[in-house]
């Protein structure tokens, strides 16, 4: 793994020449800086709004959490500038703004929703989320700066797949059953949700597998009745994927993760082959699986029934969904204002169970109104746009598929949980990336954005030349 050493720039100054001696070539990132400053300004105004609303007088409150957070963002920006990576300048501010909105919400919710004892002091919701955000952003920055080569992902895709399945099995066996769902794994004092990491590993494997085989998958076909389908051996991974998704639902009882895995998988297969047959086949498998699960498993049936009509049991299983809708309604167009949402009105904090994980979107939509909620929606839209652009500009298929897959993990997660909050799709227990409370989710999503940033760098090592086999199968190596 060789590191591209910067070549001299035209007018070296004293500092730059010193840095150059260490192989570092600073590069200004004005757009990123401007966007970060705007985001910081917005968050500051939001913080004042929240603190004033809560105090009943105009005040900035205790801005330390926000200041630390903005500081972290600026340090990362500085690191990007100094190391001179030519990475995307939009993703960091967008991620940063989402994380900042998350902090505003966490600071506003009852701090007792999540606590961590550290000997003499106890950290509440907002400081904990700040800690995880900081850690996640650090991981993001390190990945974006250090990764200059994708061999470690490309070459070992089956190893990664094995690691992923191993993680899954580990959770099956050792998982901590909470609310009937085996999601978290506890090793010593650290509890994490490996399925979050599994999302990333899965995309790495699929990108590698599809990049290698996509020509075959796209061309070869067997006729099955009126439709032409690819030969059976190539369908096995699809069936395997379907099996994993089913297993996740049945054993882990995690409907959201299964939906996410399967939709990311279908998207990648479509992008790699552009064959509708796969999508139709995949959807057929999905419908068959979903129908069977609906009739076989109570927890799946409950979710779907609540979705269809939450008013059947308004005080029990439908409670969350109905109250999320109330939140949207109360928010209206302009919102109630930060800190003025329902818990302040009724004096019953935590009116909505899981408000800090599953219902952050409803909570923000109540306090920021439709204008704020649309802004959040647009932030994920921008992430999607950047991800697809990175894929378009990627040097080869593996990188393109990796970029698409990683982007889709974030976008589909966001769409599923926002749709669930809005009662457009059944509610599943997945997180809103960068906004929901939770360390595992933040770290996994930060890894994704970090990798996307690394992929976006036009200066990273070029991929290896096409292998002879691929050259043979493609229509010709060059035009």
């Amino acid at each position: 793994m060789s590191v591209i050493v910067g070549v001299p720039v035209e007018r070296p100054g004293a500092i730059t020449s010193t840095l150059r001696r260490w192989g570092i070539r600073p590069r200004l990132r004005n757009l990123e800086l401007l966007l970060l400053l705007l985001a910081a300004a917005a968050l500051t105004v939001g913080w004042i709004s929240l603190a004033s609303q809560q105090a009943g007088r105009v005040t900035t409150g205790d801005p330390s959490v926000l200041m630390v957070y903005v500081g972290v963002l600026l340090v990362i920006h500085a690191a990007f500038v100094i190391t001179g990576r030519r990475t995307d300048q939009v993703l960091l501010p967008v991620t940063g703004l989402l994380g900042g909105l998350s902090l505003l919400l966490m600071a506003r919710l009852p701090q007792g929703l999540a606590t961590q004892d550290l000997g003499s002091i106890t950290l509440g919701l907002a400081p904990l989320q700040l800690f995880w955000l900081g850690l996640a952003l650090a991981v993001l920055a390190v990945l974006a700066i250090v990764v200059r080569n994708d061999d470690w992902l490309r070459a070992y895709k089956y190893t990664w797949a094995a690691v992923g399945i191993g993680l899954l099995l580990l959770v099956f066996v050792l998982g901590d059953p909470t609310n009937g769902a085996r999601l978290s794994l506890r090793i010593g004092p650290i509890a994490g949700q490996p399925s979050e990491l599994l999302k990333v590993i899965l995309v790495v494997f699929l990108a590698g597998y599809l990049a290698e085989n996509r020509t075959l998958l796209a061309r070869a076909s067997t006729r099955l009745g009126p439709i032409s389908v690819p030969p059976l051996p190539y369908l096995l991974p699809m069936l395997g994927m379907w099996g994993i998704a089913l297993a996740v639902v049945i054993v882990q009882r995690d409907l959201g993760a299964a939906l996410l895995f399967f939709s990311v998988f279908l998207t990648l297969v479509y992008v790699a082959t552009r064959r509708r047959a796969y999508v139709i086949l995949g959807l057929a498998l999905f419908l068959a699986g979903a129908t069977a699960l609906y009739f076989l498993f109570g927890h799946v049936r409950t979710r779907v029934d609540i979705w269809l009509d939450p008013y059947v049991d308004p005080l029990g299983s439908g409670y969350q969904v109905i109250h999320a809708l109330y939140s949207f309604g109360r928010g209206g167009i302009l919102g109630t204002g930060l800190g003025a949402g329902l818990p302040a009105v009724s004096g019953t904090p935590g009116d909505l169970p899981a408000i800090h994980t599953d219902f952050v979107f409803a909570a923000l939509a109540e306090e920021l109104g439709m204008l704020g909620a649309l802004a959040i929606l647009a932030l994920y839209g921008v992430i999607a746009e950047r991800g697809l652009r990175i894929a378009v500009q990627a040097a080869d298929d593996f990188r393109a598929l990796l970029a698409v897959g990683l982007t889709m993990v974030i976008v589909i997660q966001a769409a599923l949980i926002m749709g669930g909050n809005l009662k457009l799709v059944p509610l599943t227990g997945i997180t809103l990336p960068f906004v929901s409370y939770g360390g595992s989710s933040l770290l996994a999503n930060a890894i994704i954005v970090g990798l996307l940033l690394a992929l976006s760098d036009r200066g990273v090592e070029p991929p290896p030349p096409p292998s002879p086999r691929r050259r043979f199968l493609s229509r010709g190596g060059s035009r």
């Binding site: 591209i4 050493v5 070549v7 035209e10 757009l31 401007l34 966007l35 705007l38 985001a39 300004a41 917005a42 105004v45 939001g46 004042i48 709004s49 004033s52 609303q53 009943g56 007088r57 105009v58 030519r86 300048q89 939009v90 501010p93 967008v94 703004l97 302009l334 919102g335 204002g337 930060l338 920021l368 204008l371 704020g372 802004a375 647009a378 921008v382 746009e385 652009r389 500009q393 990627a394 040097a395 080869d396 298929d397 393109a400 036009r458 200066g459 990273v460 090592e461 070029p462 991929p463 290896p464 030349p465 096409p466 493609s474 190596g477 060059s478 035009r479």
Partner: protein, 146 residues
């Protein structure tokens, strides 16, 4: 309406304005980026920027658009004629294959360097990489309009 209520109003409106200002700047940047890419894609796959050329052919600072196969050398039959004492007649060739550029030395006397290292056989290169033939240094860049 009292002072506090009014201030809260203004702060809340300010928050929304800040959010949308962020989007305004962001969308403007994305739009420019998109236009640049659309415009660039119609033109060429990339260009070589001449970083240093002691003998003035090609001229330092000039930018040369690239075809999918671009040969470099002292001979006038090359796509890019590099008139330098240390450059061979048929020195090197740049090819765009699949999705990336590759550089190959064509058996030159003094060799071809990529980012300061002499190359052996076919090597891939990315935008921003610098290649050197004799005393002439060239940087591969993406085509852009703005």
């Amino acid at each position: 309406m009292d002072y506090f209520t009014l201030t809260i109003w203004l702060v809340r409106i300010g928050f929304v304005i800040c959010l949308y200002l962020f989007f305004f700047v962001l969308l403007r940047a994305l739009w420019r980026d998109l236009r640049a890419t659309v415009a660039a894609s119609g033109r060429s796959l990339g260009r070589l920027v001449v970083v240093a050329s002691p003998e003035g052919m090609p001229q330092a600072g000039s930018s040369i658009p690239l075809d999918a196969i671009t040969s470099l050398g002292r001979d006038v039959n090359n796509s890019i004629t590099v008139d330098d004492a240390f450059v061979s007649a048929e020195h090197a060739v740049l090819t765009f294959r699949g999705r990336a550029w590759y550089l190959e030395d064509r058996g030159s006397t003094n060799g071809t360097y990529l980012n300061g290292q002499r190359i052996q056989g076919v090597v891939p290169l990315g935008y921003g990489d610098e290649l050197q033939l004799g005393q002439v240094r060239l940087r591969l860049e993406r085509e852009r309009t703005s």
